[in-house]
């Protein structure tokens, strides 16, 4: 059986689910000191004085340092995405020195011999603050005379980024249908299962830093830039990492400070955050106010789409903060054809935790807006929401298709995915039930929501990133080493934090090299072991890193072919390779296994001229295009009109993620993605009060759904291979999250339209649904 397409259980799971593995917090070398941070209780205040003397006198305390103590060496945290030439980029000290700008910003730290002593000593640090005006509301922040997050900047606006294509005036002028909406993408907290943790060990001039990070390679470079410790003196290890969802695609102050403290104290230092600490200090996601206008003809044909965003940056720009909403700029038109599109986004500073990438990063926000609009357009015209989409989407004959946002969609088949989803869902039967419940005024109403999405994965062609002023390329690296015994080591620059690379990469290598799956070991996540890499985010691992591995395997086979031909005294063209064996065409018994070739390559007694010993290869793959997964999601909800409670009754997801290496991993990604997307629709919201205090610091207030709250998902696929890579893969890490949020909200609104409800703000809590019903009924 071929390995590509095989639903293997993940080989890494036993150690991950039992925790008997190298989580960063499991690592405690002899002599390790423990760090605890004192964080600002104010959203905005001047620091007048930090008195650490009493804390220094506590038992087991080794050092207590304020931001001022570290000011000379701590540098500033990096932002790698200068989205416009005039973007305002405030200095962001790892530890606040003279002003705090969000609640939770570190102001001092204790280093002690054990974690208990460190946390206890925090209570003896005395800080005098002078509170300053707090900026919480984005729309007020951009008005004249608003209080300022960064007083010296004179404004709360970081940048405005604009994209325009087509004649918008013509599209909007006399448009028979014009829908104008204001949608709020609430602020979310990524909530990886493993909190952040970092351990830094000094060794002379060298440092080894373990961190629960998605980006060991980028982190190493950035730590070097920030601290001026030479890059070759820093080794970064991302051991097993328990989830990230973008929140560990970051260069955090605590990582920089671990390095500085280890250097200063000459001993290993470790810090692991608590959940409540993480809710305040891990970067947040989403948080946009979207003003959108869609112009259409009476027959439902979309003429133009205008998008104006305010995007909350929080108090500072972190690694890719300003670029996240701009990734959405390319996705607002979705799968639809239109004559004109305009997009503008203003990044706004507020006294809140900085935002940055969170699963989907810009694309869920964009998909939400267009899919909500398409359902509203259908309602406005009295047409079925599937039909209105059919009238606008790119048909499968039209690929490759240049989207109005400037992307080239290589392949896709929206018709096929939609037809499959409709059949699985029982669309007509559910519509009949909906009519019947409306007829008899059932207190529990049924609603059906549609989301036909596409997204861009496989970040990214380096030249495209260059054109967007991003600070790095988008390539990925893979090495394949066939060991003398015939076993195989694969090294990848893309390090997993839950994705299952060790299984999927072994399947690719096993398939291409014809060696048993069990004979392949996948190495990753350590800059000393995998020196080249661009790391893991943006559903890029398989579409870029997997393709690098695919090509590296083929390169090994080509070298082996040269050696095999020499040993078999045959022409390379006469050799066939299959099942791990080279054979001479027509002479089945004349052949060599790849293991036999490896032994010959290792011994090097008899190699062709110019061929180097050993069987290995390196490939750095830079994709030519993004990949574009797509799919059709259908959601049926039951809304209790008496209480406002929403229950998801059916959820069908038909996704086209191209070729599938491991269907079980893909299904797991879809399930997890759906849970997170549904969570935005129904449950999650980071709430700040008027003083800028985060009120959702625990899981009792920041609600995450569990399996008990979610339906049994019906998932299926269509497989339209990506044209841009030899594997035909697209990426699946974010699809479920991107597609599901609008499907759920569309379903709720669909249930409540007869009551005069046109929108429910997210998360659609029972009280918000109840309020919308009362207000709708009052109209």
């Amino acid at each position: 059986m071929t390995e590509i397409g095989r639903a293997r259980l993940r080989s890494e799971d036993a150690r991950l689910v039992t925790g008997r593995t190298r989580w960063t917090d499991n690592l405690t070398p002899a002599g390790t000191l423990h760090v605890a941070y004192l964080r600002s209780p104010h959203a905005h205040a001047r620091i007048d004085r930090v008195d650490v003397e009493a804390a220094k006198g506590r038992p087991n305390v080794v050092a207590v340092l304020s931001g001022a103590d570290l000011a000379a060496e701590q540098g500033a945290l990096p932002c790698a995405w200068q989205v416009t030439e005039d973007m305002r980029l405030p200095a962001h000290p790892p530890m606040a020195v003279d002003e705090v700008r969000y609640a939770g910003e570190p102001v001092a730290c204790v280093v002690a011999r054990d974690r208990y002593s460190a946390v206890d000593a925090l209570e003896d640090i005395d800080v005098d603050y002078t509170p300053l005006p707090v900026v919480v509301d984005m729309e007020r922040a951009v008005q004249d005379g608003a209080d300022l997050v960064h007083g010296d900047m004179g404004t709360n606006e970081s940048y405005t980024w604009v994209f325009e294509q087509g004649d918008m005036d013509a599209a909007m002028r006399d448009a028979p249908v014009l829908l104008e909406r204001r949608f709020v993408q609430q602020r979310l907290i990524p909530t990886a299962m493993e909190p952040r943790a970092v351990l830094c060990e000094p060794d002379g001039e060298d440092f080894t830093l373990h961190s629960a990070t998605q980006i060991p390679h980028i982190l190493r470079l950035m730590l070097s830039v920030v601290t001026e410790i030479p890059e070759h003196r820093i080794r970064v290890v991302a051991p097993d990492v328990g989830g990230g969802f973008g929140s560990k695609l970051q260069v955090y102050g605590e990582e920089v400070l671990a390095l500085l403290l280890a250097r200063r104290l000459g001993r290993p230092v470790k810090w692991t955050e608590s959940r409540s600490e993480g809710n305040m200090a891990v970067h947040h996601g989403r948080d946009q106010i979207q003003r959108v206008a869609l112009a259409a003809d009476r027959d439902g044909r979309v003429r133009g789409l205008k998008v104006e965003l305010l995007a909350d940056m929080g108090a500072y720009l972190m690694l890719v903060t300003p670029g996240v909403p701009l990734l959405g700029a390319f996705m607002f038109p979705g799968i639809y054809k239109m004559d004109a599109y305009s997009f503008s986004c203003t990044g706004v500073f507020t006294n809140k935790t900085p935002t940055d990438a969170y699963r989907g990063a810009g694309r869920p926000e964009a998909t939400f807006a267009i899919e909500r609009l398409m359902d509203d357009l259908a309602a406005e015209l009295g047409v079925d929401p599937i039909e209105v989409r059919r009238r606008n989407w790119i048909t499968h004959e039209e690929f490759p298709y240049d989207s109005i946002a400037g992307l080239t969609y290589d392949t896709g088949n929206y018709e096929a995915a939609t037809d499959k989803a409709l059949a699985l869902f029982g669309y007509d039967e559910l519509r009949a039930e909906q009519d019947e419940r409306r007829e008899r005024r059932d207190p529990v109403q049924l609603g059906i929501g549609v989301s036909t999405y596409t997204e861009m994965c496989g970040l990214a062609p380096s030249r495209v990133l260059g054109s967007l002023a991003y600070g790095a390329g988008g390539w990925e690296h893979a090495s394949v080493r066939v060991l003398p015994s015939g076993k195989v080591e694969v090294v990848t620059g893309s390090s997993a934090h839950g994705q299952g690379h060790e299984t999927a990469w072994a399947q690719i290598a096993s398939d291409r090299l014809g060696v048993p799956f069990e004979d392949v070991k996948v190495l990753h996540g350590d800059t000393a072991v995998a020196p080249k890499g661009m790391d893991t985010y943006g559903s890029r691992s398989l579409a870029v890193g997997g393709v690098a591995l695919f090509r590296a395997c083929d390169k090994v086979v080509e070298k082996a072919r040269t050696i095999a031909a020499h040993l078999l005294e045959a022409s390379e063209d006469d050799l066939e390779f299959g099942g791990g064996r080279f054979s001479v065409k027509g002479v089945e018994e004349a052949g060599l296994t790849i293991q036999e070739v490896t032994q010959a390559a290792f011994a090097a007694h008899n190699l062709p001229d110019g061929v180097e010993p050993s069987l290995d290869s390196d490939v750095t793959h830079d994709p030519e295009n993004f990949s574009f997964p797509h799919g059709t999601h259908l959601c049926a909800v039951e809304v209790d009109t008496e209480t406002g409670f929403t229950k998801i009754r059916e959820y069908v997801a038909v996704d086209d993620v191209g070729t599938v290496v491991n269907p079980m991993i893909v299904e797991g990604q879809v399930h997890g993605g759906l849970a997170q997307g549904i969570a935005q629709a129904l449950y999650e919201e980071a709430v700040y009060d008027a003083d800028g205090n985060l009120t959702t610091t625990t899981m009792a207030d920041y609600l995450l759904p569990s399996a008990a709250d979610l339906p049994t998902f019906t998932t299926d696929r269509t497989e339209t291979p990506a044209a841009g890579n030899p594997l035909g893969v697209k990426g699946v890490g974010e699809a479920g999250t991107i597609a599901s949020t609008p499907a759920v909200v569309n379903a709720i609104v669909d249930a409540l339209r007869p009551f005069g409800v046109r929108d429910v703000p997210m998360p659609c809590t029972p009280e918000r649904v109840w309020t919308a019903l009362r207000e709708g009924g009052a109209r």
């Binding site: 008496e642 209480t643 569990s706 008990a708």
Partner: protein, 286 residues
């Protein structure tokens, strides 16, 4: 978890526990599983000098038949309670409500008496104790035994009638007899979340008329409260859909529901009315 520093005492018997409590002082806390106390310690919202852990006091875990009542030991775990044959048969409201508490892991640590002594008005079991007219059994080294009816037990937010040197040893639950119907209607956003509002009701009907009715409300004030106006309206009258609906409209009377992220006071009042109607309907459906 990095709690503040505290002394830790682990008595092996009830007698030892009762002797330890007065010495431990006013700032001692009794640890009866940790469902609520552990989060308070973790968040440093509680700074007890001493924890007296009842985990080893085996006698407090027993659930026994006491004639026309059951006695549930204070440290019987939720898991134990909801699966106990006596509880399921004679106090089905307790079994049903306990099954909605938190999640399976917590239900294996959290205890029946611990939840009542914690007296969180958002907890499910205080309202159930009210609806059942449960009796709290308290004991101290100095004052001996005391019986406290549930309606007198919850005196303020997270405050009970227990004296500092007193332990809740168990709870006496009257056995359900013929004609009784029960229901706990819990409304929460996710399975593991606190009740926004909960309604526990116990109804006894004789020949179609409501002979006895008690309704306990979860999270409708600083203490669990009875929906007295509803009880009075229904008592002695024949039960019809209309009567039930009309009486339920009184569910929020004399309550002072909190407002928080999950619901305004107005919304909670609305929920109390809807859920009371549903709970009464379910309790009287058979």
């Amino acid at each position: 978890m990095i709690p503040p520093t505290f002394e830790y005492l682990r008595p092996e018997s009830l007698g030892e526990a009762l002797r330890m409590l007065p010495d431990a002082g006013e700032d001692a806390k009794v640890l009866a599983g940790g469902q609520s106390l552990m989060p308070l310690l973790r968040l440093r919202l509680a700074y007890p000098d001493t924890l007296v852990d009842l985990d080893r006091v085996a006698a407090l875990r027993e659930i026994r038949d006491d004639g026309d009542a059951l006695v549930v030991g204070a440290t019987a775990t939720h898991h134990q309670v909801m699966n106990d044959p006596l509880v399921r048969r004679f106090a089905p409201l307790v079994a049903a409500a306990t099954a909605t508490v938190a999640d399976p892991a917590v239900r294996h640590r959290g205890t029946f008496g611990g939840s009542l002594a914690h007296a969180d008005p958002a907890g499910d079991l205080p309202a159930v104790a009210l609806a059942l007219d449960a009796v709290m059994l308290a004991r101290s080294a100095s004052g001996g035994d005391r019986e406290i009816p549930a309606r007198d037990f919850f005196v303020d937010w997270m405050t009970t009638a227990l004296e500092p040197d007193e332990l809740l040893t168990g709870v006496r639950l009257p056995k359900a007899g013929p004609g009784w119907g029960f229901h706990y209607e819990k409304f929460h956003r996710t399975a593991q979340a606190w009740a926004i509002v909960g309604v526990a009701c116990a109804v006894r009907r004789v020949q179609g008329a409501v002979e006895d009715v008690r309704i306990g409300l979860t999270n409708m004030g600083s203490v669990p409260v009875r929906a007295s106006a509803v009880e009075e309206r229904l008592g002695g009258n024949a039960l019809s859909d209309g009567a039930l609906r009309e009486a339920s409209e009184l569910a929020a009377e004399d309550t002072a529901p909190p407002a928080d992220l999950h619901g305004s006071a107005e919304y909670r009042s609305h929920l109390a009315r809807v859920l009371t109607r549903r709970a009464l309907g379910a309790a009287t459906a058979r």
